[in-house]
Each structure stands twice: as structure tokens, then as C-alpha cells.
């Protein structure tokens, strides 16, 4: 059964009367490339939650996730004239933020930052088994976690996740499967204890 998807931006094209809110991502990106900050703001508003979710679930840290999204969006603004439109804007911006998130993980590995305080985000309200699930997600290795987050939480297709994670689609599929299996085992173990 297909997973419910997050609401995606309308694939409308601008006809001169359309509001920015109704314009497609690609049209807004083109406007932004010409210096239209309002068009870029529309993209920021449209994507900030998804990007924050992506960064938060990969980095497991609210301050790091905020930094990743902020830096990623600024990088996107600076580089948006290089967005050629041959891929979806969402894939492009996910990839930028994911790179920032991986940078955080690398830096953390190098400096051996403590993990205790970065597992659960304060925005995760304690509701029944929600904390268990998020805590179990945090136990996955970053590459498996990223695949699970991209496909299951964000709702990317296998191809989009492959493009965003910069790995082949087969690798995403395998990581997703193994990630879910480990997650299920972790939740089972948690329930049993």
C-alpha cells in the first residue's frame, strides 16, 4: 500500500495572474535566479518544515538541524542560478540540506561530540509510542537512518531519494529495507524490556 505523501507544491505554471503561492517550484526557482527574493521566500516557506524534519531526523539535534536548514537555504539562494531545472527543485534543495547534515555528522565523528542530549528533539511531544519510534530511529546508522527518513518520513520516491542521497536507487531500497528491519527489531526489543 502506498504511503500517504506530504502535500507537494502545485505543478502550476505562471500565467501572469497567478499568485506566488500557486506557482510551481521550478517557476519560483527561475524567478529567484533573476533576483526575486519574494519568489525565494515562497520556496522557503514551502519547504522549511520538510527540510527541518529531514535535517533533524538525520542529525538528531535541533540546533544542528536549524543550522543545516539555514545554511542550506542560503547556499541555495547563492547557487540558484545553477539550478538547471532538469531535476525537481525539491530534490535539489533536499540534497543541499542533506550535505549539510552529513557535514554535521562528520564533524561530530571527528570531534566525538556527546550523543546523549541529541537523541530526542523537544518538538517531539511525548505521545504514546512516538518517543519510542524516534528513539529507535536514532539508533540506526546514519546511512540507514537517512534512507528511512527520506522515504518514510519525508515521502520521497525511491528515485528522488536516490538523487537526494546521491546513491543508486538500489542502494536506497536496500538501506530502507534494512533500516526498517532494524527499527522493527529495536522497537520489539524495547517493548519486551
Amino acid at each position: 500500500m502506498a504511503l500517504p505523501r506530504l502535500p507537494v507544491a502545485p505543478a502550476a505554471t505562471y500565467d501572469g495572474r497567478m499568485r506566488l503561492q500557486d506557482a510551481s517550484d521550478e517557476w519560483l526557482a527561475k524567478r529567484a535566479a533573476r533576483g526575486d527574493a519574494d519568489a525565494f521566500e515562497q520556496l522557503v516557506l514551502r519547504y522549511q518544515d520538510r527540510l527541518y524534519t529531514l535535517a533533524l531526523r538525520v542529525t538528531l539535534s535541533e540546533p544542528d538541524a536549524r543550522d543545516c536548514v539555514q545554511e542550506g537555504l542560503i547556499s541555495a539562494w547563492r547557487a540558484i542560478d545553477r539550478f538547471r531545472g532538469d531535476a525537481r527543485f525539491s530534490t535539489w534543495i533536499y540534497r543541499i540540506v542533506l550535505r549539510k547534515a552529513y557535514d554535521v555528522l562528520d564533524r561530530r565523528k571527528r570531534t566525538a561530540e556527546p550523543m546523549e542530549e541529541i537523541v530526542i528533539a523537544s518538538s517531539d511531544r511525548p505521545a504514546d509510542d512516538r518517543l519510542d519510534l524516534i528513539a529507535a530511529l536514532a539508533t540506526l546508522e546514519p546511512e540507514f537512518r537517512a534512507a528511512v527518513v527520506a522515504c518514510d518520513i519525508i515521502g520521497m520516491s525511491m528515485d528522488e531519494a536516490a538523487a537526494a542521497l546521491e546513491v543508486p536507487a538500489g542502494t536506497v531500497k536496500s538501506r530502507l529495507h534494512r533500516g526498517r528491519s532494524r527499527l522493527a527489531a529495536e522497537l520489539e526489543a524495547h517493548r519486551a524490556s
Binding site: 504511503l3 529567484a32 525565494f40 518544515d49 527541518y52 509510542d129 527518513v149 518514510d152 526498517r180 522493527a184
Partner: protein, 189 residues
């Protein structure tokens, strides 16, 4: 994977999708946009691209025309050189356009600064410079002549060619104008 496992995975995926969402901190978009507006983008100069393209095409075209002109001049030279080689006197000079020069054929080629004299007797030629050893199939020599002596040497070679006894060993000589400081020397073509 079993059906149960597959269903479990789907259920897990649904739970992740429902429970894994987070909301961006309230000030995030504002902070980003403040920074974005602080560094405005220069709108790309779209007119520059076609202009640059036109300029590149013009340069290429000019280069092609120049190249074709040079090749044309070279072919004309070859043609007239061939004609000279086959002429009895073998002393028809040429200019850069491959036309015979007006003043009795004495004007050297203005661009290539070369002329070819056919049938110069070997013994006479040897008085100018020692004959170098060239490949067996070479039927002639190149003669490098300092600029100041070009006309005189050219006339001399023509005279020798004109006076060549029948059957005497002879070579075709390509005369090349060299800087005034250069030494007169025969080389392989």
C-alpha cells in the same frame, strides 16, 4: 520477505510518516530571508550570452576566412611552382597570389619570399654552397639566401639554368629569403 514482514514494514513506514514530522522553528524563515535580502542577487545579464555567442561566431568566421585565404595562397603557389618546374627555362618567379610578376619575373614573392628555379647545373650550384646529402628521392635543394643578396643570387641561378648544357646533371632549387644576417646555404627541401 514474508507478507507479515512486508505489512510490518508498511505499517512502520506509515507510523514514521505520521510521527516523524517536525515543524521548523518559528524564526527560521525570517532569519533566512533577512540574510537573503541582505545579499541581493545580481539579475543575470541575459543579453550577454547572445552577444558573446555572436562575437565567438564572428571570430571563428574571421579565422576560417583567413585560414582559407592562406590555403588558397599556398595552393596557388604550388600550382605556379609546378608550372615553373615544368618550364624549359625554369625561372618563372611568382608573387603571393601566384601570378607572374611584372618586371621580367625578377620580383620575389612578397609573402612567401620564395621562388623556384628549375635545372640549375650541379657543378654551378656547388660553387655557392656544399651540396648536402638528402634523401634519395629528393630532386632538388632549398637555398637560403640573405635578404640583401636575394635578387642577385636569383638572377645568377636563372642564368645558370638558362645556360645549362643538355644532359648535364642539374637540380631544382627553391630560393628562400633569409634574414640579412643569415649565411647563404643549401639545405634539403
Amino acid at each position: 520477505m514474508t507478507d507479515n514482514g512486508h505489512t510490518d514494514h508498511e505499517q512502520l513506514g506509515r507510523r514514521l510518516h505520521e510521527q516523524g514530522q517536525a515543524q521548523a522553528p518559528p524564526g527560521l524563515a525570517g532569519d533566512v530571508m533577512r540574510q537573503v535580502r541582505a545579499e541581493p542577487r545580481q539579475p543575470p545579464r541575459t543579453w550577454l550570452r547572445p552577444v558573446a555567442l555572436c562575437a565567438a561566431v564572428a571570430v571563428l568566421l574571421a579565422a576560417s576566412v583567413a585560414g582559407v585565404a592562406r590555403i588558397g595562397a599556398g595552393q596557388s603557389s604550388s600550382a605556379s611552382r609546378s608550372a615553373e618546374t615544368h618550364s624549359a627555362m625554369g625561372a618563372v618567379p611568382k608573387n603571393s597570389l601566384g601570378q607572374a610578376s611584372g618586371a621580367g619575373g625578377q620580383t620575389p614573392n612578397a609573402i612567401t619570399q620564395e621562388r623556384r628555379v628549375a635545372g640549375v647545373p650541379t657543378d654551378k650550384l656547388a660553387t655557392l654552397s656544399p651540396l648536402p646529402f638528402c634523401a634519395a628521392q629528393a630532386h632538388g635543394y632549398a637555398l637560403r639566401v640573405p635578404a640583401g643578396r636575394y635578387a642577385a643570387v636569383s638572377r645568377q641561378l636563372q642564368a645558370w639554368a638558362a645556360a645549362k648544357p643538355a644532359g648535364a646533371p642539374a637540380y631544382d632549387v627553391q630560393i628562400r629569403r633569409a634574414p640579412a644576417s643569415a649565411r647563404l646555404a643549401l639545405t634539403c627541401p
